[in-house]
Amino acid sequence: MSYKDIYDIAANLSESLFPCYINCFRDKAFDKIKNSGFPDFKQEKYKYTPLASIFEGEYLPVNPYEWKKPAESDFPEVSDAIKIYTVNGVCINNEIKSESGFVYGSLVLASRECEEIVEKHYNHLADNTDLPAALNIATALSGVFVAVAPGVETTRPLMIINIVDSDSNIFSQQHNLFVFGENSIAEIIECNIGISDASTLTNNLSEIVIAQNAQVDFTRVHDKGLLSKHVSADYIRQYEGSSFNHSNIIVGGGLVRQNTEVHLIEKHCYSNLYGLVIADEKQHVDNYTFIDHAAPECQSNELYKSILNDKAVNVFNGRILVRPDAQKTAAYQSNKNVLLNTGAKIYTKPQLEIYADDVKCSHGATVGQLNEEAMFYMQSRGISKSTAQLLLMSGFANEILDKIKNPEFKEFVLSRIEKKIRN
């Protein structure tokens, strides 16, 4: 089935699943796709990852009423975390729960049970002109809802485990909504796992609202099979005095395109964007980040790193916009890459647009190999070449991995990375 058929299915099913304040966006979003088509290499934002060929393929739709329980051995263990499972985009527990400060569950239910908050924020952050996002808005029939009430300091991390499990080329989507109230504190972990060798396509979208003085930590890991294609967009809006850490770790996946957009709309926001890509074989990873400094006296730090082997391709496009009113902005960006052989490729592009005159901004990109001197130094201490490489690569990755707060999850990510590097 093509995406047009998937739209027809969504149009039929959506009425029984969602209220009209959500469904009302669908037609307009789909018209956008019909009018402009999916981006090819001619569109700057998707130059190195033209999505047209991917989205215009044939896929099977997911039945939003059906799910099957996955094998638990594939899950990361974070013992104190609250867990939400989705299989092929659908929440496997169809309920809204309240636990350790979080209110969470399926967006389908939340759209009725927490109508006030969902209606206030749903599709208020997403960029409807971005084609994958438009497709999600037009056709997604499931998602995760997470909210923390104002003043609540959550006591445990909340972990979302998204599993793609199918023998066929399914097309799954999630539209997630996160709302963090004023002065709240929360930690979210999102883990994207594939237990499928099929050529699946995922198109997820998350809207993340961070109210005044809230402190939010969001860590995401992509670790799917080589045939999987995963497109994901995060739209974050930060209000006065809030702080946000976004760590985005990509280990597996045939194609991963991650858009991360942060809008700092009130003063004194603090935002950290960290990224790590470990790619080999024919993996293609593309990170697009956009930090919109729309208010004065905000700070953003961005650090993206990659280690690439074989014929892996990595793209980093980091756009920072400092609007005329955003005086006293501090925005720092850095992209560091290690190529392990001559077949791997990195395209890196900083994009700073500064319209205010009293700002501190910097950007930089490096591409290099593993340090030969350091290799020899370690070997001269008796350390084998492969262990020395592993130590150097972990050392390079540690700067990002150290940002992962939860020790058990960090251990899980480290083990996946180590396994990958050893292979």
Binding site: N371, E373, A374, F376, Y377, M378, Q379, S380, R381, G382, I383, S384, K385, T387, L391, L392, S394, G395, F396, A397, N398, E399
Partner: protein, 249 residues
Amino acid sequence: MIKITDLHANVEGKEILKGINLEVRAGEIHAIMGPNGSGKSTLASVIAGRDSFEVTQGEIEFEGKNLLEMSPEDRANAGIFLSFQYPVEIPGVSMTNFMKAAVNEQRKYKGLEPIKPAEFLKMLREKAALTGMDSTLISRPVNEGFSGGEKKRNEIFQMAILDPKLAILDETDSGLDIDALRIVSEGVNKLKSPDNALILVTHYQRLLDYIVPDFVHVLYKGKIVKSAGKELALELEEKGYDWLKDMDI
């Protein structure tokens, strides 16, 4: 312990070592001196197995093994240690992890189980005390942000942990003030035993006030041109290296 015979080596096609002969027995301390560019550091690197140097002729025998056929890590595990002239900074890798990997590779080479964490920490503390290494540096990334003196002390600290049969100290005295030189030398002297041997590569005589060699060799234009006892070092200090230019080499 080590026997070097007619060793020739090139770097980037240029011959640097032009027939070195040197034998070091257990318990001995040899100093290799000479002007800049004479090939001292090249000799140290070739023994340790740096692959940017190409050995074109000659042999190195270490305890009956053909050293030139061994990888740098196997040489280290067989008991060779090179103290670097410029110790390398390794961001993101802590001294603890670095040394644990080294100790465990050495143990694996000897057919032993990996070291127990408590035993390893005890060893780190003891060797830090022995060599005057600031123990707060142990949790930091390897050599990152270390001062010149701390880096050199760290080399001797690693030497104490790995307990080599043959240690080669490449310009360990360079960049050290007198106090640091004394501390580093004391560390080296404490590690010396009748079962191990030392090769000191140095430019100046002053290191040899603290670590007294049995033999002094002068390396010039890739060859050992003179060998004698420790008094040769004093003579070099007095006369400099200019007299070499008058020799027909």
